[in-house]
Amino acid sequence: MEKHLKVSAIKDGTVLDHIPANQLFKVIDILGLSKIPNQITFGTNLDSKLLGKKAIVKITDKYFEDSDINRIALIAPQAKINIIHNFEVVEKRILSTPSKIEGIAKCMNPACITNHQDVITSFITIATSPELKLLCRYCEKVTDEKNLKIISNQ
């Protein structure tokens, strides 16, 4: 049987696969995809053995620096990044959680200066498993995975 792609192939660019379906729009937000002129196709709520429901994003003629793409490791650590040239996967990248995270996550401490004034949040990653733990550079409190909120770029 011919394999049919749910989201059309791209000739050149980057494919982000195995994104948890409920994190798709956060990924779009973190990578600023709503602001770039490139062609983007995506599918969501696709069946996935690994995730149950997954999303996939294909961005034509766009390649990311590791430091940019690793930002999505916070919310989609199992995502697979494929670099496409002439319809072929020429490189697969593995995400790794950055040791320093700036301007993506919100500090869970309501008394932290970053929740009251226009200060860019800044965290050090102190643990990635079994649970992500981020130490706020400002208030020195830990924000854990279940309290993690992503700051919108909009």
Binding site: I113, R137, K141
Partner: protein
Amino acid sequence: MNKSNTIAIDMSKHLISIHDFSKEEILNVLSMASRFEENKNSAIFSDKVVASLFFEPSTRTRLSFETAANRLGARVIGFSDVGNTSVTKGETLKDTIKMVSNYADLIVIRHPLEGSARYASEVSSVPVINAGDGANQHPTQTLLDLYSILKTQGKLENLKINLVGDLKYGRTVHSLLQAMSHFSPKFRFTAPKELRMPEEYKEQLRVKGIEFEESENLEDGIEDMDIVYMTRVQRERFTDAIEYERVKNVYSLRRYMIENARPNMKILHPLPRINEIHQDVDCSDHAYYFDQAGNGVYTRMAIVTLLLGIKEF
């Protein structure tokens, strides 16, 4: 105590958190403080202006910083009530700090928001000292506590310390615990169950192999101690008024409780105290809290001096 006349110190430009200090840096600050105690008026900064920005009420911290600056010959500007400043018009902390750092050579800041001092240090062009950022850090209090312990015990190593009261919200006990961890202490934590030492701090001690025991009973934890560190249950840290009412008067240290204490045992308290130390303790040889507050001046003289770039005194 180290009596050498030269201090080699490599401090960062600001003093924001006790975590910024190594054991050697702590000892160097204490050593310089002891020399300021011997030379109380050392007008070495007559060409400097120190800004004292208190966005939140304070008696001891503000007065001792201003005394320290004055004894060093510096002039002091600032405010102790934001009601008289442009903050009431909505000025951001960033703008206030940027403006003041054009007026002064050093900024001392107390602010109710946690992380405010770190942020101030990032936008300031002059050194910043954290004089308390909400429930987070108060590093100069920790250093004066260490100075008081060193002065009364003659050493910092291998002491038995009982931390009493609000061990959940009290920033002074958290910072003191972390700073003393350099010196192989044994801790006793005396607190009601609502205000116990948070697990993260106990885990830090376990990792370092430092012994501690926990109790709700104050009277049992005095006889074999070197230091009893009392704290106030701080109403301003509670979000639940009922919880505050339940625990506010949980401990009151009385004279009869300290009759069998070790001769060297000293009672410390960051002050202000309410009911947690009865006034009948004040005239005991064990009471040290007012002297402790006095030590804040020498410690802060040392910190101001180091941050203004003088490495030797």
